[in-house]
């Protein structure tokens, strides 16, 4: 029965007992077991990553009215392994005058910035790397290392396309970090904690019902953080060939690619954790971790699918439009929403759930409506100004041909 409710602790206890039985000091045995746990998590993630390649290709094919990989194995499932073998046996090239150490370090940092995010992901109520009490900020900190890896890759490649791609990408990442932080603070306010597990435990009602706008802002900021279309300025393939990773070949390119896919799944997972109750689903998570982990992964894959849906449907936005969208629209909106959420939360906290939940939901809807109405009036005024000027010009042209 114990295995069914807490398998990882059982395995760890058994292993520690075995190792100390062999005469290993308790501290060393504990450290070794923790290390094996990390190794297990990373191995599982990398195996999932292999299948993400297949999933991404299959989904993009469906969006583009194709079938996708279908030759190797059932549904083309062996295709990703063929891809990996191809990446491994490709020539490993380094451009002339490249900064070798930085050039080789960048893909590792890129992959690492994604993998360390999983340290704080609670897979089940008792299966988690570390219950960090600054979990929400930790996500941003890991993103900072990802930003660094991109600028390192772009600079060390000694290639103008790579450098321009890195500049654009970093400009986007640094800008969209701000609405991301504001959106991360909304579950923090609602749960009263930054810890991921505490946020999930506090979600008796999914936070998407208490803050639908917050969930939307987080999704937009996450897509920008991932550098995916419509925010894929960094590797705009029609302008920059491939952006910051243009010079990388073989498995080094594979690291960037795999990191990007796993990053998307990870942010899908964080979307699920912060706004859709994480591993919680009608109390099933209390039954067994064997149910909780699939629930979380399902939510992560649904989030990932939505990110892919946006990516393969939307066109790329020009960089100045993108930055204006962030600084003049998304950031102010995120901060106003943060203030409204904090205020409504304090005012309605004492009330019963029947008032609290609709109250929070309505505060978001009203704010959204005000923003849409404001935008409509503003764009109408701008359009009339432009049309008025054009009309005046035609009148002048008729009068003085």
């Amino acid at each position: 029965m114990n295995f069914w409710t807490d398998p990882l602790k059982l395995a760890a206890d058994w292993l520690i007992g075995l190792l100390t039985g062999w005469g290993m000091p308790a501290g060393v045995a504990l450290g070794l077991t923790a290390f094996l746990g990390v190794l297990l998590l990373i191995t599982v993630l990398m195996v999932i990553d292999i299948f993400l390649v297949w999933l991404e290709r299959k989904v993009v094919a469906r969006f583009q009215d194709r079938i996708g990989p279908n030759r190797l194995g059932p549904f083309g499932l062996i295709q990703p392994f063929a891809d990996i073998i191809k990446l491994l046996i490709k020539e490993d090239t380094t451009p002339a005058n490249a900064d070798k150490v930085v050039y080789n370090l960048a893909p590792m940092l890129s992959m690492m910035s994604v993998l360390i995010l999983w340290a704080i992901v609670p897979l089940a109520p008792r299966i988690l790397g570390v219950d960090l009490n600054v979990g929400a900020l930790y996500i941003v900190a890991a993103g900072a290392i990802g930003t660094l890896s991109i600028i390192m890759a772009g600079w060390s490649s000694n290639n103008k396309f790579a450098l321009i791609g890195a500049f654009r990408q970093v400009a986007v990442l640094v800008s969209f970090e701000i609405p991301m932080v504001a959106a991360l603070l909304i579950p923090t306010i609602l749960a009263g904690s930054m810890g991921m597990n505490a946020i999930i435990q506090a979600q008796n009602v999914w936070y998407v019902w208490l803050s639908p706008l917050g969930a939307l802002i987080f999704l937009v900021a996450a897509i920008a953080e991932l550098g995916r279309s419509p925010f894929d300025m960094g590797e705009a393939e029609s302008e920059l060939v491939a952006g910051y990773n243009i010079e990388y070949s073989g498995m080094k390119f594979g690291m960037f690619y795999a990191g990007e896919l796993l990053h998307a799944l990870t942010f899908g997972g964080f979307w699920g954790i912060l706004f859709f109750g994480g591993y919680r689903f009608f109390g099933l998570e209390q039954v067994s971790p064997f149910l909780a982990i699939p629930i979380l992964l399902t939510k992560a894959v649904i989030g990932y699918w939505i990110i892919m849906w946006v990516k393969y449907t939307m066109m790329r936005i020009r960089i100045d439009h993108m930055l204006a969208f962030n600084w003049k629209f998304l950031t102010p909106l995120a901060f106003v929403l943060l203030m409204v959420t904090a205020l409504a939360n304090v005012l309605l906290r004492g009330a019963s759930a029947w008032i609290y939940i609709p109250g929070m939901f309505l505060s978001n809807v009203i704010l959204g409506w005000i923003v849409v109405e404001f935008m409509r009036r503003y764009s109408r005024a701008e359009r009339e100004k432009a049309e008025g000027a054009a009309k005046a010009r035609t009148v002048l042209e008729i009068a003085h041909p």
Binding site: G27, D99, V102, L132, N133, V134, L137, Y138, V140, A141, G143, A144, I145, T147, L148, I151, M152, W155, L163, F167, V170, V174, E177, S193, M194
Partner: protein
């Protein structure tokens, strides 16, 4: 030696060596990257002190914002990324002497302090450092005034930057 002490010594060594590399390397981008290593090692020191909030903020602010800005500024303003001139000026001997004296003085001073030989008291179970910090920063009995003053200072800097960069048509 405990494990914590070994980790501290390794991290301290990394901090010092990378800080030395920041000022000695000729390549400016490399200097900025070494600075990132230094700042990251300082974040690890915070984490060793159970100050998880400070550790994460150190990474977010210094690596995520300031180091990236450094790299941007160097790339955008310099054509030649290498510093060609001599790295030492005439008064290096005096500076080295002052540094050694300051270190010796601090060392002698801290030798006499009884805090050096104390072991850190374990945090009580259920102690939430984040909660304590948040309450302290917003409580009128604690640090709300310095906190607000610092906020106003940052806001003034922000307004000043916008004013300077604002392009009047």
């Amino acid at each position: 030696m405990t494990v914590a002490q070994i980790i501290f010594l390794v991290v301290a060594l990394v901090t010092l060596v990378s800080a030395l590399m920041v000022v000695t390397t000729q390549n400016l981008i490399h200097a900025a990257l070494w600075l990132v290593v230094t700042l990251f090692a300082v974040a690890i020191l915070y984490a060793l002190l159970n100050a998880s909030f400070l550790a994460v903020v150190q990474v977010v602010v210094y690596i995520g914002a300031i180091a990236i800005l450094f790299i941007f500024a160097v790339m955008l303003t310099r054509k030649e990324m290498r510093d060609q001139g001599p790295q030492l000026n005439a008064s290096w001997g005096l500076s080295a002497l002052l540094a050694v004296l300051t270190f010796g003085g601090l060392f002698a001073l801290l030798q006499g302090w009884d805090g050096m030989s104390k072991t850190v008291a374990a945090l009580p179970s259920g102690f939430d450092a984040m909660n304590e910090l948040g309450t302290a920063l917003t409580s009128p009995n604690a640090f709300v005034l310095p906190f607000e003053v610092a906020s106003v200072l940052l806001l003034a800097a922000l307004v000043g930057a916008v004013y300077l960069a604002f392009n009047r048509k």
